[in-house]
């Protein structure tokens, strides 16, 4: 049926209206002009950065200061107008994703959605001032310093740099090589330093000031040269069985060989126990760089204390608290013709402790120990024991600790009285001498003037190769509440004199130090440094030129000891030093040459 004209007109009007409505309802496309308004490098996107860095956007210039990091693959985060497309060198970018090399200027081209208009933004990464200007390395390279036979690296600890140099080296004109962060300036007394070029006099400590790029932060590094008599090197450890604390090294005067005696430790880990051998004595000697056993499990069960001595004719002796008997008194054994045997009967009538031993010529033996809260001594004259106390000489107050040393004909006992055990003197100490016939006092119930007490840590006694008795004790006479090591020697005229000033290290608990004297008469002191983690062993020596104790040399054990490392320290006749300690049931040894 044909449509009427009227109806056609109506339909046409409706269609035109609908078309008009359709056109008007269609959203008008907005084309945003190219615009980049924010730019940054976020730590989350860049492993080389430790924090976020926001750039300054000024017109089409973008600048950001970064620390001295690898800029070859940095990921930028930026904000652009909606619909804008960003490209770098033709590559489409994704904010927070795409990495670029910012070692040089990078151009970000931002284009509108139609690709008709674009703006180029130039991004420049500059160097930010170092927030922590520091010296990263310090050395005296051999090619720049004729005073040295090899390159010597400095040890940087905080802002102190220690450099161990040969004792006789001329240090008045040395050229240091160093590194620091980018942009930093290094000066000494205001003079800018050039690594590997600038010469300084290092006869006194030299202060290097490191200044960052804008001078906002500085640091001062003090370089001190420590003159070394020789060099410490790690020797051969022993861990075939677990070594109990108290291992002692001695030099056999006959063959100049190091010998060690120790108690086998009962394992406290997964190591299988050995009921026969655990807690018994072992002995070995160090030959051609290896430990050679000279007796395993040759003793009864050993209690808490033991000691080791070698007589002038080369016979090794041990003394130990015998845990196989009751009460646990002291047993002495000697090594002869390839086997160990007991020396006389046991020593004591009650349980003993703090057992120390000295062997004299003729294989005579002196034992000092604590029994029933008294000092109890035994003397083996080659055929029988003579025992007794020291009441007549010392009043025999309750001792806190005992040490022994000696030479071919004399034994010396150092002891500390417990608290105010005698005449109200707080931890007074004694040095007693036994000449094979009688005891005499070199120092009795002594407390240094100005000191609160003799330190109950940091003491030892030794006899130098020339027969001089050296004593190390600790006191607080000169540093208020802090205790320092003090070394003294006993003179031929019967007086004591101090060797150098006190040693800088502040004595800590368990700081059981050792003193040994080299054949040239130089005293060395070794002590555990408990202020570092892991704990280390430090060694100082008395410098005859400066009359002061040297800066410490740090020796690192296997895994850092816990508790008392039980140092033992000797020199052979040629001046080679042997320092041992027990580190995690391993016997660690360092050698000095």
């Amino acid at each position: 049926m044909p449509m009427s004209t009227k109806r056609f007109s109506f339909v046409a009007a409706v269609l035109v209206g609908a078309a008009a409505l359709s056109v008007s309802c269609q959203k008008k496309e907005i084309i945003n002009a190219p615009s980049l308004t924010a730019f940054s490098f976020k730590a989350a996107d860049n492993a080389v950065l430790s924090e976020d860095y926001v750039a300054t956007v000024s017109g089409t210039s973008i600048s950001v200061a970064l620390p001295d990091v690898d800029k070859t693959a940095l990921v930028a985060t930026y904000t652009v107008a909606e619909g804008n497309v960003v490209k770098v060198n033709g590559t489409v970018q994704t904010s927070g994703k795409t990495a670029n090399d910012f070692s040089s200027e990078v151009t970000y081209v931002v284009t509108d959605a139609k690709g008709e208009n674009s703006v180029s933004y130039k991004v420049n990464v500059t160097l930010a001032p170092d927030k922590h200007p520091s010296l990263l390395s310090f050395s005296f390279d051999v090619e720049n310093n004729t005073a040295f036979a090899k390159t010597i690296e400095g040890e940087i600890s905080g802002t102190d740099i220690a450099v161990a140099v040969p004792q006789l080296a001329d240090v008045t004109a040395l050229t240091a090589s160093f590194t620091t962060g980018a942009g930093n300036k290094v000066t000494v007394n205001g003079v800018e330093q050039v690594s590997g070029e600038t010469v300084n006099d290092f006869s006194a400590p030299v202060d290097y000031v490191v200044t960052n790029l804008d001078g906002s932060v500085n640091a001062i590094y003090s370089v001190t040269l420590n003159r070394q008599k020789g060099e410490w090197t790690a020797g051969t450890t022993y861990d075939a069985v677990q070594v109990h604390a108290g291992a002692r090294i001695l030099i056999n005067p006959v063959d100049d060989t190091p010998y060690v005696a120790f108690k086998r430790h009962e394992p406290n880990d997964d190591t299988p126990k050995d009921a026969e051998k655990d807690e018994t004595m072992y002995a070995m000697k160090y030959v051609n760089g290896a430990w050679e056993m000279m007796g395993e499990a040759f003793s009864d069960k050993v209690g808490s204390d033991y000691d080791f001595a070698i007589s002038p004719d080369g016979t090794p002796f041990i003394a130990f608290k015998n845990a196989s008997v009751s009460p646990s008194v002291t047993t002495v054994m000697k090594y002869a013709e390839g086997s160990w045997s007991k020396v006389g009967g046991n020593l004591g009538t009650a349980a003993t402790s703090k057992i120390h031993l000295q062997a004299l010529e003729g294989n005579k033996v002196v034992v000092c120990q604590i029994m029933s809260n008294k000092t109890f001594v035994g003397y083996w004259d080659g055929s029988s024991w003579t025992t007794g106390g020291m009441d007549a000489l010392t009043g025999n107050p309750r001792p806190y600790e005992i040490r022994m040393a000696g030479d071919a004909t004399n034994a010396y006992m150092f002891s500390i009285n417990r608290a105010k055990a005698l005449d109200g003197v707080n931890y007074g100490h004694n040095v007693m001498k036994f000449n094979g016939t009688e005891w005499s006092g070199l120092r009795q119930n002594y407390l240094r003037e100005g000191a609160t007490q003799t330190s109950i840590y940091g003491y030892d006694i030794t006899v130098a190769p020339d027969g001089t008795v050296y004593l190390i004790t600790g006191d607080n006479a000169e540093d208020n509440e802090k205790y320092h090591h003090r070394v003294e020697k006993y003179n031929a005229d019967g007086t004591w004199s101090q060797v150098g000033g006190t040693i800088d290290y502040v004595i800590s608990s368990r700081c059981l130090s050792k003193i040994a004297v080299a054949p040239d008469g130089t005293p060395f002191v070794a002590y555990p440094n408990e202020y570092v983690d892991p704990k280390t062993i430090e060694v100082v020596y008395f410098d005859a030129e400066t009359k002061q104790w040297s800066a410490p040399v740090t020796l690192q054990g296997k895994k850092g000891f816990t508790g008392d490392p039980n140092l033992s320290f000797v020199f052979d006749s040629k001046g080679k030093g042997y320092l041992t300690w027990v580190d995690g049931n391993t016997l660690v040894m360092y050698n000095f040459e």
Binding site: A204, D207, T211, S216, N218, V499, G501, D504, K547, Q548
Partner: protein, 155 residues
């Protein structure tokens, strides 16, 4: 009644506890001297031939302009400059650049026997700061660390 006594006793203890002097609060800038082990006294042997380092330290918030600390060296009658010691640190003013909190004062000790009957001390004494807002020594009446006394002894 007995309970009242107990309550009163507890209250007394609490009141006494509140009245206890508070620990000193070091909230003011100060400058002090000390040895490498933190002491304000030291002993050096008369036979020593070595350089010792003593430290001037400042305690204050971070700063942007250098801080200057003045000090003096006071020599006892028993010691002679150039014979018993030489102060290696030039001048008597130490400048702390931003970021530096500890500066050395170095004294070279010379081997020379001393007369024990005389005053054989060498004292490093702080005299002032610029800006002058720093307390000399630790805050408190003792002014610990405002001077460091080194005694030369025949050991």
């Amino acid at each position: 009644m007995k309970l009242n006594y107990i309550i009163m006793a507890i209250a007394s203890v609490l009141v006494a506890g509140c009245a206890k002097n508070p620990l000193p609060l070091f909230d003011e800038p100060f400058v002090y001297l000390e040895t490498s082990t933190g002491s304000d006294v030291a002993v050096v042997g008369a036979d020593v031939k070595a350089t010792s380092t003593y430290y001037v330290r400042i305690s204050c918030p971070a700063f942007t302009d250098p801080i200057e600390v003045s000090y003096d060296i006071i020599c006892g009658e028993g010691l002679t400059d150039g014979v018993d010691y030489t102060v290696l640190t030039a001048g008597r003013v130490i400048s702390f650049l931003p970021g530096i909190w500890k500066m050395p004062v170095r004294i070279q000790w010379k081997e020379h026997a001393i007369d024990e009957s005389k005053d054989n001390t060498l004292t490093i004494a702080l005299t002032g700061t610029q800006p002058d807002t720093f307390t000399l020594g630790y805050p408190g009446p003792a002014a610990k660390g405002s001077k460091l006394v080194i005694t030369k002894k025949n050991l």
